[in-house]
Symmetry: C2
Subunit: 196 residues, 2 copies
């Protein structure tokens, strides 16, 4: 089953989805346990019980595999708007931080950014994930009562501000540990949104 | 001169400062040219014309050496307040981004954050650098005319918001390239600061 020939013959069969899932699970576990440095293709293949070529047929390189471990989880941050802007923002930020704080995501994201720095052509890739929570953020703003969000502001700019605050609080410890920080992020965002 | 014995005998002499400077220059060049992965102690020592032990006597490990390559440059962001809050913030953000965008800093920062993730005990270290621009930011707020900055707000929270926006725009490409983004960061910060 693990020879390349057998793998190729099985393309498109249900078995493939099973291999995908096993590889992604093994990669997430290794990221959490041993960091990006420990999550090599060889180690992932061994834990998933497949041969490395089976991984390379699905992902061009380790970075692409790790991206698929991390970004779908971030895009699943689903907070339905209730019309209570402050409460919605608070829930949105909490859900986003929780997704980022998954051990495999915490280990992978700085390493991914470092990999993008090393290969500038690849630098657009993280956007697939970061962008995906934007529609949910826009929906929260749209559901807010009149007079709370200045219609002249670009929701994308507000999301950028939120993203920066969340990433900073997640990855820079002395920012993250200050008491009440998420509440104050929400307060500052609300102030920035208010009509003049 | 390059034998460990010779090095030890020279401790405290002017020669030491010269070695420090050569090692830091070599490390910055290698970070810019070959990234964090290429800036090994061995390669830095070779370029600086010293033996690796001479480096290890000064810095306990590569991470500490790279920190000293990067963080003093960030703390040198010196923008004297003029009392024009909007203009001062614009200059502060531009200077901070320029310091971050130095090739050696761009290469080193994601790798440092990744290293901190891998060794949680070390995670407080980047704060030495990130914190150092805070007094200058507070001075800008203090110089602003009355009525522009809500005295009830904590300047540290406002700085965190600015830091997140700047880091995001520097390291996440699709955020950074949107036209007029720095201006809009300043606008949103001003709105967040305004007294209620």
């Amino acid at each position: 089953v693990n020879s390349p020939g057998a793998e190729i013959r099985q393309r498109g069969r249900p078995r493939d989805a099973d291999i995908d899932a096993r590889v992604l699970t093994a990669a997430r576990e290794l990221l959490a346990e041993a960091g990006f440095a420990g999550a090599t293709i060889q180690a992932i293949a061994q834990r998933a019980g497949v041969q490395p070529p089976a991984i390379y047929r699905r992902w061009a390189n380790r970075v692409q595999l790790v991206e698929e471990c991390v970004f779908p989880g971030l895009s699943e941050v689903a907070v339905l708007p209730t019309g209570d802007l402050e409460a919605d923002l608070r829930r949105f930020i909490a859900a986003y931080r929780e997704a980022l704080a998954q051990p495999h995501a915490m280990a992978a994201l700085p390493a991914l950014v470092a990999a993008y720095q090393a290969t500038p052509d690849a630098r657009m890739r993280p956007e697939r994930g970061f962008r995906s929570a934007r529609p949910q953020f826009r929906a929260i703003l749209e559901a807010a009562p009149a007079g709370q969000v200045d219609a002249a502001l670009d929701p994308e700019d507000l999301f950028d501000l939120l993203l920066g605050a969340v990433l900073c609080r997640t990855f820079i410890l002395s920012v993250g540990v200050r008491a009440g920080a998420p509440d104050r992020t929400v307060e500052l965002l609300l102030r920035a949104m208010r009509p003049s």
